[in-house]
């Protein structure tokens, strides 16, 4: 392992100046290695990479957003938002945190696009409206669409955070009043796109993705929605702490009943865990404190495309889940539908759904009801066994 403490320019040296011990730093690197599924010894590689590299530039764009992903980022702990902003990256534009305003703020963004063309990372939060000639979202008098095209097509990579930026999210829910799109659809020529869906993105998945890039200079392997396998490779159901109750046929029947108090399975009250792919059960939220199912509420499927239309009504249970007590055949999950989804599609129409990115990528699935992710790697191999896809996008 190369140690570069003497150069004075690396992160390690800076951390030392602020009293972060070598042990603490290596602890952070180990946690990162574990989260992104790297083999033993990788933490040393991460440490070496973080210590020596100059800070890459990142700009964070907000469009039709609720700032929930920004808030989530503020909850990050490994590393913290302060460490990312001050030490790991140069965050040259982020409306919610930056000191500059108005013209001076926009000048910072323009300078990045001009002077660091092809070298910066763009994070996008919120969907991009295409209706009303772009008037549904303007910043500095420019439309979100224009800004997204200028900034994203000149970036080395784009990281879409949250389900609005990845798949259109809530603004794109039927009947999509503003013609909202996710980044993939709004800006077709992005070189490398990483999608971190969920509402909001789990901060630890965002920081792990950034650290993966800082460590290796490339992006993690992804599923067909461009989501990193280390975070979206398995269903909630497969890793759920309540799975034993599903297998045993023990269900919550009514809010606050004995089964609810004892942590039984939430399937009958609407849990979408079987058709939702994210690592919530493993890393949980807010530094591992809890997660929605842990506090007694069903999963609402927030990491999946069109979950506002396809997973609602939220409290209607999935139909056709095989085997109360049998392990589900994961490849057939895509055939399941939520009770009531048919009615919702009938009411809202399928037309607008045809525009979505996942449809383009899902040949042979004209109805748009296929939830199936890319088949998982066989056996217990972790994500490292998957071919790298991110860099090819």
């Amino acid at each position: 392992m190369s140690q570069d403490d003497g150069t004075g320019g690396g992160l390690r040296a800076e951390l030392e100046r602020r009293g972060v011990s070598r042990r603490e730093f290596m602890g952070f690197c180990s946690a990162m290695a574990a989260l992104i599924g790297l083999p033993k010894g990788a933490s040393a590689m991460i440490a070496a990479a973080l210590e020596t590299k100059a800070k890459p530039t990142l700009v964070w764009l907000e469009f039709q957003d609720c700032a929930g992903n920004t808030e989530s980022f503020l909850r990050a702990s490994k590393p913290s938002a302060a460490e990312v902003v001050l030490d790991l990256l140069s965050v040259d534009y982020h409306e919610t945190i930056m000191a500059a305003a108005g013209f001076h703020a926009e000048a910072a963004l323009e300078a990045t696009v001009r002077d660091k063309k092809g070298q910066y990372v763009a994070v996008v939060e919120g969907s991009i409206p295409t209706g009303a000639d772009g008037a549904y979202c303007t910043i500095g008098g420019k439309s979100a669409l224009q800004i997204a095209r200028d900034v994203c097509s000149n970036a080395a990579a784009v990281v879409a955070v949250g389900t609005c930026a990845t798949f259109g999210g809530l603004p794109a829910a039927a009947p999509n009043p503003t013609g909202a799109l996710g980044v993939a659809d709004a800006v077709p020529n992005i070189k490398t796109l990483i999608n971190l869906s969920a509402c909001p993105v789990n901060a630890e998945n965002l920081t792990a993705t950034l650290v993966f890039f800082l460590t290796y200079g490339r992006w993690p392997a992804t599923d067909r929605y461009n989501r990193p396998l280390f975070a979206y490779g398995k269903s909630i159901h497969d890793n759920c702490e309540r799975r034993a109750h599903f297998d045993a046929g023990q269900y919550v029947e009514q809010w606050g009943d004995d089964g609810h108090r004892q942590g039984f399975c939430l399937y009958k009250v609407g849990c979408k865990g079987p058709v939702t792919f994210q690592n919530c059960p493993n890393i949980r939220w807010n530094e591992g404190t809890n997660w929605p199912i842990g506090c007694g509420h069903p999963c609402i499927g927030c990491a999946e495309p069109d979950f506002w239309d396809r997973m609602t009504p939220f409290y209607s249970h999935l139909t056709g889940v095989p085997g109360f007590g049998d392990a589900a055949d994961i490849d057939k999950i895509g055939l399941w539908a939520t009770a009531g989804v048919g009615a919702a599609f009938a009411a809202h129409g399928l037309v607008h759904l045809g525009k979505r990115a996942y449809h383009r990528k899902t040949e042979g699935d004209p109805q748009g009801t296929d939830f199936t992710p890319k088949p998982e790697p066989s056996g217990d191999d972790d994500t490292a066994a998957e071919p790298e896809k991110g860099a090819e996008q």
Binding site: R18, C66, E71, H94, Y136, T138, P171
Partner: protein
């Protein structure tokens, strides 16, 4: 005269544009425009009312609980569901935690840089900074060594030449008035508050599964089971964890936030003379203390007109209306009228310039916000409104803290009607709520101990138990002020949904009578030292804590006549 455009207004939630005219070094006219629209009420049409909270919650991820709370209250009001005591307590805790955490983030991360010159902190003497810190508080992080470390970290960051989010700001602006030591202390606490908020909000993770976008809300109660004899429910472990998080949170508020607030305010007392605004204040009230139809509220409701603290009027929800004359919407009966939210008929109608544009035509429509009015008057909502109503209503703890803060600054209550008053009221409210939260945890623990484990009214869960047609309203005090949701349900589905939101009250454009909204009023007379660097505009606008995503979503296509609006 010069025309200033600040777009984007940064360090807020959402997209806000301010245009202002400056004459003789003062703002002589101002227009507030919100530049983003999503149409969430349209999206709600025809959906299950029990799902609505999750949709409306996503209006905002900063005040991530407020539209969920208002939504479940509106639907409960419509269908007659009655949440049991534990649900009320859990909601009070979630609401108060939101308010406390949000206010601290606002002070340090969104507002502080308007008052604190980060670059000046590099000239601070760490020993003198320690002296200042120890003079204002007994907080443990106050040694010269500690401030040396912070200064070196900041210095190393600046030396590296990549200023990131601190680039291009108004550093060195003559309106910055803190000595370098106060600036360094504030920078240290900016960083500490980043860690603090992350920890304090674990209260939400315990009670709501995650933050942002908690996921334990239910129409009729809460999804978080309560059982002292279970590992999968709120139990004695979680009670202990909540008490510890609240105690640590309160400690920071008392020993860091409030002392910082008073220290900074003491250098900017002239800002008690700017930013007064409309002088009318509206509060719906919050924190029900029992289950009755009109429960006592810990933070009282009321209306103040024309800064008259001697008379607190009762809030009447029938007097809430909205104009669209200067908003990018149209009314069927003409844009001159004002409509009650239950009778809204709004359709988006963008008439502004095609982007990219330099100027808005402010004589016509110029914002995605409507203009809410109460009894035809513009109203300020938020912490200042709440603290004024509570103060004038004789709320004991609020009176004590307001009186003590005024005494420490050596000023009278008249300074409250100002930019500075808004900043101070937010801090006082934070302490009042952080102190109160422990009592609600005790109440929850007592219920648990005597076997009161109910969390949900299941009698109204099944839509078959609802009337064919039902109408309801839900009221809430969000961190930024009074929030109301109105819902109409037909055959178990949402027929109409309308929200009237704090930032719509405060940031809305002129009404049909050309009366400006609170931001627009508050900016009049603001001194501008340098029109190229309108720092002073940011001070007053930020003092309201803008949350624009909340403000814009006002679309209702239901169009049904509704005559009966019930009040929670």
């Amino acid at each position: 005269m010069s025309h200033i455009v600040v777009d984007p207004v940064t360090r807020i939630e959402g997209h806000l544009r301010i245009e202002a005219e400056v004459d003789n070094g003062q703002v002589s006219n101002a227009w507030s425009s919100s530049t983003m629209f999503r149409g969430i009420e349209i999206i709600l049409q025809g959906r299950d009312p029990r799902d609505a909270w999750a949709f409306t919650q996503r209006i905002c991820g900063v005040c991530t609980t407020i539209h969920a709370i208002a939504s479940i209250r509106a639907v409960e009001n419509a269908i007659g569901a009655k949440p049991p005591p534990n649900a009320r307590i859990l909601r009070n805790l979630i609401i108060a935690a939101q308010c406390v955490q949000d206010h601290v983030i606002h002070f340090y991360h969104l507002h502080a840089l308007d008052w604190v010159d980060v670059v000046s902190a590099l000239e601070a003497d760490p020993a003198a900074t320690a002296g200042l810190a120890q003079q204002v508080s007994d907080w443990h992080n106050s040694s010269a060594d500690y401030f040396t470390q912070v200064k070196e970290r900041l210095g190393a960051f600046v030396q590296r030449g990549q200023l990131g989010p601190f680039a291009n700001a108004y550093w060195g602006h003559p309106a910055y008035r803190l000595p370098p030591e106060a600036n360094l202390m504030a920078v240290a606490h900016y960083l500490e508050a980043l860690d603090w908020q992350r920890k304090f909000i674990k209260i939400h993770a315990i009670l709501g599964g995650k933050n942002p976008h908690l996921q334990s809300f239910l129409v009729g109660g809460m999804a978080t089971p309560v059982d002292p004899n279970s590992q999968a429910a709120l139990n004695i472990h979680t009670i202990a964890a909540l008490k510890e998080l609240i105690a640590e949170g309160l400690d920071f508020v008392r020993r860091v936030y409030i002392p910082d607030l008073l220290a900074v305010a003491s250098f900017y007392k002239d800002w008690a003379g700017f930013g007064a605004g409309v002088g009318n204040y509206l509060v719906y009230g919050e924190y029900p203390e029992n289950e009755g139809p009109s429960p006592p509220l810990y933070i009282p409701s009321g209306v103040i007109r024309g800064r008259d603290l001697s008379k607190i009027e009762a809030f009447d929800p029938e007097k809430v209306t909205e104009y669209v004359k200067h908003s990018w919407y149209e009314y069927e009966g003409g844009d001159g009228q004002a409509l009650h939210p239950s009778k809204g008929e709004t359709k988006p109608k963008y008439t502004g310039p095609k982007p990219p544009f330099d100027r808005l035509d402010t004589s016509g429509k110029y914002s995605w916000l409507k203009s809410p009015r109460y009894d035809n008057l513009p109203m300020e909502v938020g912490p200042l409104a709440r603290m004024l109503v509570a103060f004038a209503s004789g709320h004991q703890r609020v009176k004590e803290l307001v009186t003590s803060a005024l005494a420490q600054l050596g000023v009278g209550p008249e300074v409250l009607f100002s930019t500075l008053g808004r900043v101070a009221a937010r801090g006082i409210e934070t302490q009042v709520l952080a102190e109160k939260m422990g009592e609600w945890v005790d109440e929850l623990a007592n219920n648990m101990g005597r076997g009161e484990l109910r969390i949900h009214d299941s009698s109204r869960w099944d839509p078959k138990s609802w009337p064919k047609s039902a109408t309801g309203a839900g009221f809430h005090e969000a961190p930024r002020g009074a929030l109301g949701h109105w819902v109409h349900i037909e055959d178990g589905k949402i027929a109409r949904y309308q929200c009237v939101v704090p930032s719509t009250w405060n940031a809305g454009p002129r009404d049909a009578g050309e009366n400006p909204g609170p931001y627009e009023s508050a900016l009049l007379g603001t001194p501008i030292a340098n029109p190229e660097q309108p720092l002073e505009i940011l001070r007053t606008v930020h003092s309201f804590d803008p949350c624009m995503a909340c403000g814009v979503h006002v679309v209702d296509v239901g169009g049904r006549e509704v005559t009966c609006v019930k009040v929670l």
